[in-house]
Structures are given as C-alpha cells and as structure tokens.
C-alpha cells in the first residue's frame, strides 16, 4: 500500500457565520493524482488553502506523514493558485528563482529543474521574458515551473487548466501525469468532471463544504450505480448549492449602514421601475 503523505483529520473551517468546510477527513497517498471536484463555492479552494498552510483549520488537523502541521512544512509543497500569482515586472525565471530562494534552494539546482520541465512545456525560450506580455497559458505554465523548481513532494494545483486553450491544457495534463509516473503526488482541483476523469487516479467530490464521494472514477460509478461521472456527480449533489459568499470579512455596523444608504432600492414591480426613471 502507498505511503500516506498528507492527512486531513476532522477539519472544519469557518469564516464568520459561514461553515466553509464541515468535518472533512482525507488521506493523500504518495504517487497519486487526487482530483478535488465540486461546483463554485463548494469548498475546493478553501481545502486547498488549508493543505497549503495558508489557512488554519477552525478545528481538526492538517499534518504531513511525519506528524508536523503542514504550516511548518511548506517547503514540502509546490502550489499553483488559481490566479497564478506572477509578478509582471519580473521575468519568468526571476519569478521562479524568487520562490525557489524562499524555499532555500540554490539557483543552480532550481535552474536545472526549471530547464528540464520548461522543455516539456515548450517554455525554455520564454524564461528570460517579462511575464507582463504572457498569455494565460504561458502564465499557467510559468506558475507550474515555479511550483516545481524546489522539488516538492506534493503539488497542489488550483484549476490549472482554467482559461487555457486545448493544446496548453493538454500539455499541462501530460506534465501532471508524467510527474505522477515519476513518483510525485498531485492534488488537482477542478470543476470539470471530464478533465478529472482524464487526469486523476482518485476523485474527491466536494459539495457544500462536505466530501460526498472519494474513490477512483470506476469506484464512483459503481457506488452510485450510474453510467457516467456526470450522472454520478448529479446524484451525489442533489441538494441545492449554497450561495457563495463574496467576501469572508465581517462588515461593521457603520460600514453596512453607509453602504445601504447609497444603495438604491431594487424595484420589484413595473410600476416601481417606471417611478424610478
């Protein structure tokens, strides 16, 4: 049996009154690609941020195989957030080097790793260019190279193919599979079932902050007695998705009053619309 690398035990995460994740437990094993699948606002990004040590759990623990909280072991992780997070006035290599230096990795080692993966992603000639003019696909690939440069044990990818053209998306998926084949572990968040089926060895379906299913694509079909993953997903998430909260910060009484003061009342009848004109 593969070795457990990351354990999420009874994790709950609250933002003010919103319970983003409810008592989640999950084991991530070495050498697998785990797909986190769910609709917008399901809790995928929150779970990913907990795994990356950006958020602290409200209760429960997120620990690595050595029992250390993930927050203290971030050098074990490589993270590609949804926004990619590249500095536009730095070159692709400078972006990568900055992160690898923060991980305490020598420039020569980071360069050797970057060069190897850049070849796969057809990015080698672009490493010296400022990322300002990069397409979405090039930014995504640079962020991926940046996450790999320090040689992480676990790679966390948040919607890595969102907004990419078909060719770029294929290249990214191929690299992810190659990393798995070389013994790497990848956690892959997506809301596209077809993509998850293509790439992932194991799919975790998250809905309204809960894990609804966890297993291989075949196992999910068997458990739900359906013919396709789409049907399986629908049968597992029949309850209505909760409304996504725009901002998880608390609004003060004064700020709320001030905002409402300058927000016109939304008309509810044709008569009110005509009166407001």
């Amino acid at each position: 049996m593969a070795k457990s690398l990351l354990s999420i035990r009874d994790v709950t995460k609250n933002f003010a009154e919103v319970e983003a994740l409810q008592k989640i437990s999950l084991e991530i094993y070495s050498g697998e690609i785990v797909g986190l699948v769910g609709s917008n606002g399901a809790g995928k990004t929150t779970l990913l941020r907990l795994m990356a040590g950006v958020y602290k759990p409200s209760s429960g623990t997120v620990v690595l195989s050595n029992g250390e909280p993930v927050m203290n072991m971030r050098h074990e992780l490589g993270v590609v957030p949804e926004s990619t997070g590249l500095y536009s006035r730095l070159t692709a290599w400078e972006n990568i080097r900055y992160h690898s230096r923060m991980h305490g990795v020598k420039d020569s080692i980071a360069w050797a790793r970057t060069e190897k993966f850049a070849q796969h992603l057809d990015m080698k000639d672009s490493l010296g260019r400022h990322t300002k003019g990069f397409s979405r696909g090039m930014k995504q690939k640079t962020a991926l190279l940046r996450a790999l440069a320090h040689g992480p044990n676990i790679l966390l990818l948040d919607e890595p193919t969102a907004g990419l053209d078909i060719t770029s998306a294929r290249t990214v998926r191929a690299l992810v599979r190659q990393l798995r084949d070389e013994g790497g572990t990848v956690i892959y968040s997506t809301h596209q079932l077809a993509e998850a089926q293509q790439v992932c060895d194991r799919i975790v379906i998250i809905h309204n902050g809960e894990i609804r299913a966890d297993g291989s694509p075949q196992q999910l079909l068997q458990d739900t007695e359906t013919d396709s993953l789409e049907e399986a997903y629908v049968s597992l998430t029949l309850d209505q998705a909760r409304t996504r909260k725009e901002d998880n910060t608390k609004e003060s009484a004064f700020t709320g009053w001030w905002r409402r003061l300058f927000t016109p009342k939304t008309p509810s009848t044709t008569q009110e619309v005509m009166e407001s004109e």
């Binding site: 933002f15 950006v54 997070g85 900055y98 923060m102 940046r146």
Partner: protein
C-alpha cells in the same frame, strides 16, 4: 533572527525593490521629483518672477492726473517713471478716494490709473484710483506711489532745512554703531543649524509619509488585488518575515526619496543664498547619532503604520482612499511643531507622537542635546514604533489577506 530567516527577508526586500524600480513612473516619483522639486521651485521660480517683473518695468503706462495744481518736479518724476499723463480738473466728490464718474474709465481700462492730487495750504491730499485685478493698473499704482514717496521725502528734508534744523540729526537720531552681524554671538554653524531646523524636519516628515504611500500600497493591497499574495503566503516564510521584508523595501525606497529631496533642497538654498546665509551646521557626534536614531524610529513607525493600513484594505483604491487623507495626521503636527518655541519647552511635548521626533530634530539640528528631552522622545518613539509594528503584524497575520475584491 536565524540565517534562513535573514536570507528570506533579504530576498523579499530585494525582489520588492527590483520590481518597484522597474517601473519608469516609480523612478520619476522617487528620484527625479524629489531631486528636482526644490531646485525648480527655488531657482526657476525666481527667474520666472524676474522676467515677469522686467516685462512690467518695460510697460509704457498712461494715467490721468486730476489736480488743482501739480508741483513741477513731481510732474517731471512721473514722466521719468514711464508714465504718460494727461491733466484734468478735480471732480466734485465727497473725498478724493470716491471714484464717482471715473469708475468706468478705470474699470474698462481706458486709463491705467487716476491720480487725484489736491493742494490744501501746506498739506497735499491725494488718492489713486486703480483696478487691483489688472496688472497694468497695479503697476501704475506702484509707480505713482514710488514717485510720491520720493517727492514726499525731498519735501520733508526741505521743510526741516527751512526750519533751521539738521536734516540727518532730526530724521536719524538713533544709530547702530558697527556691523550689525557682529552683535550676534551665535556661530555661523549654529545659525545654519537654526535655519535648517525650520524646514528639514517638516520636509522629512511629510516626504517620509507621502513617498511611502505608493510602495506600501503596491506591496500589500496591490499584491492582494493582483493575486500574487496567495502564492507568496504558500512559501515557507512567516508573516513576520514577510512584513519585515516589505518594511525594509518601503523604508529603502522612502529613505532614498527623502535623502534626494533634502539634497535638492540644500543645493537650491546653497545656489540661491550667499555662503554666510547657510552653511554646514555645527553638530556634535552625539547630535548626529541622535538625529539618525530619531529618523530611524520615525521611519519604523510611519512605514509600519502605512503597511498596516494598506494591508487592511481589500483593494488599491480602498488603500489609497485611507492613506492619502491620513497624511493630515503628519501634516498638522509637522506644521504645529514649527511654531513651538524651543526655549524653556516643557518635557511633555517630546512624548506626543510625530511632534516628539520633529521637535527632537529641531533641537538636535541646533546642536542642543538635552538629556531629559532625549530620554522622553526616545522612549516614547520606541513605544509608538513598537505599537505600529505590532499593529502591522496583526494585519499581516489576518487570514483574509489572501482574498481580494477583484
């Protein structure tokens, strides 16, 4: 601080400075503007004023003199002052200053000014009608007043002489004996320190705050808005290292801006003034060290405070709308400090935030090291700087800094 921690802080600060200075607008904001602002203001502005004044001097003006008899030498002087005049009868008005029927002539610029001049036995009455919103009319009034003043002086001297008195003894009975500057026992170095103490603290306070606004916002709310902060928070560095690295970068950028501005200011003053007006202030080693300490404490407090406020904000726009008006918190105490009399000043002034450092700088630039004051401003500044740093660390520790409005 461990070696790894120091390396990460240095990496953050270095990257922030490199990224910030790659924008040409930043170079203009932190190097070109501070360096050129005062030289442009102090050197080019007087040149512009001089050329405008020369243009006014060259103007041929036309005025009307309403009089019942103009002394001959006065008429001659008016002609010599570049004014053409025509003589009219004095109008019937309750006083000479009432424009009456001449109001429209002056307002519609058909004449530049009207001089009314009336003899009343040994006394002369006069009034000048002019339009204060017209440069020509103002110039005409100015020239007429000069001519009248000269004429009045010669009239006074003539009358004293006719009365059998000595003109010089009568008009100048009290006289300074010797060089006026010789009576000042302050050294030129002390005088220079006094002059510098009037504006260096003010410039330092305002420029430190204002030049830190842009980098503070860019490195916090800007990162948050652009989505680069999340990737940064995934790295194995603590939030305190992040804060310290960013503080170091903002402080460096601000420090360069302030130094360049002071350099520009001193250059402008040195260019304009004679060497006796301003020179090198006479400062002891202790004063210099205390000046450096006070500036450092002030910078720690201001930059930490700005970083905290910017980090609290969800967007660049929000951060700007908070930090720009907060300049008043520096501006008012800075202006207020300029008018406080330092002789016999009470100790509590040196405990008031912002005011304490500015007063300390004023004292130290005059080479006054008063132990009681030094203890009060140093301790209170350390407390304020610590509070600002603590507040900033609280803001950097917030979980919601990873989210933005965009």
């Amino acid at each position: 601080m461990s070696e790894g921690s120091f390396r990460r802080v240095r990496s953050i600060a270095k990257k922030e400075v490199v990224e910030f200075t790659r924008d040409w607008r930043t170079i203009i904001a932190i190097i070109v503007i501070p360096l050129l602002m005062f030289p442009l203001l102090f050197i080019l502005f007087p040149v512009l004023l001089e050329s405008e004044a020369a243009e006014l001097d060259a103007l041929e003006l036309s005025i009307i003199i309403q009089t019942d008899g103009l002394p001959e030498n006065l008429a001659e002087n008016i002609s010599l002052s570049g004014m053409n005049y025509s003589i009219e009868e004095l109008p019937e008005t309750s006083s000479l200053a009432v424009p009456g029927q001449d109001l429209d002539r002056v307002r519609n610029s058909s004449t530049d000014a009207v001089l009314r001049f009336e003899s009343n036995e040994d006394i002369w009455n006069y009034a000048i009608l002019h339009l204060s919103t017209s440069e020509r009319s103002n110039e005409a009034r100015y020239r007429i007043l000069n001519v009248l003043s000269d004429w009045e002086n010669s009239e006074i001297r003539e009358r004293i002489d006719q009365g059998g008195l000595d003109v010089n003894e009568t008009l100048d009975p009290l006289r300074w004996d010797g060089e006026i500057s010789a009576g000042d026992v302050a050294t030129s170095g002390e005088q220079s320190g006094m002059i510098l103490s009037l504006f260096i603290p003010l410039v330092l306070a305002i420029w430190t705050y204002s030049s830190a606004i842009q980098p503070s916002i860019d490195m916090t709310a800007g990162e948050r808005e652009r989505g680069t902060l999340e990737a940064l928070l995934c790295l194995p560095c603590s939030r305190m290292e992040l804060l310290f690295g960013k503080w170091l970068a903002v402080a460096t950028i601000t420090g360069v801006g302030v130094l360049l501005q002071i350099f520009g200011l001193l250059f402008a003053i040195g260019y304009l003034a004679t060497s006796s007006f301003i020179g090198v202030p006479q400062l002891s080693i202790v004063s210099i060290l205390l000046i450096v300490l006070s500036i450092m404490l002030f910078a720690i407090m201001v930059v930490a405070f700005e970083l905290a406020l910017a980090m609290r904000s969800h967007s660049v726009k929000e951060a700007g709308s908070i930090l720009a008006p907060a300049l008043m918190l520096i501006l008012f105490p800075a202006l207020f400090t300029q008018v406080i009399n330092l002789d016999g000043i009470e100790g509590f002034w040196f405990a008031i935030p912002v005011v304490n450092i500015l007063l300390a700088l004023r004292e130290l630039l005059m080479n006054r090291v008063i132990t009681e004051h030094v203890i009060i401003w140093a301790v209170s500044s350390v407390i304020y700087a610590s509070l600002a740093a603590y507040y900033a660390s609280k803001q950097f520790s917030r979980e919601d800094i990873v989210t933005s409005l965009s």
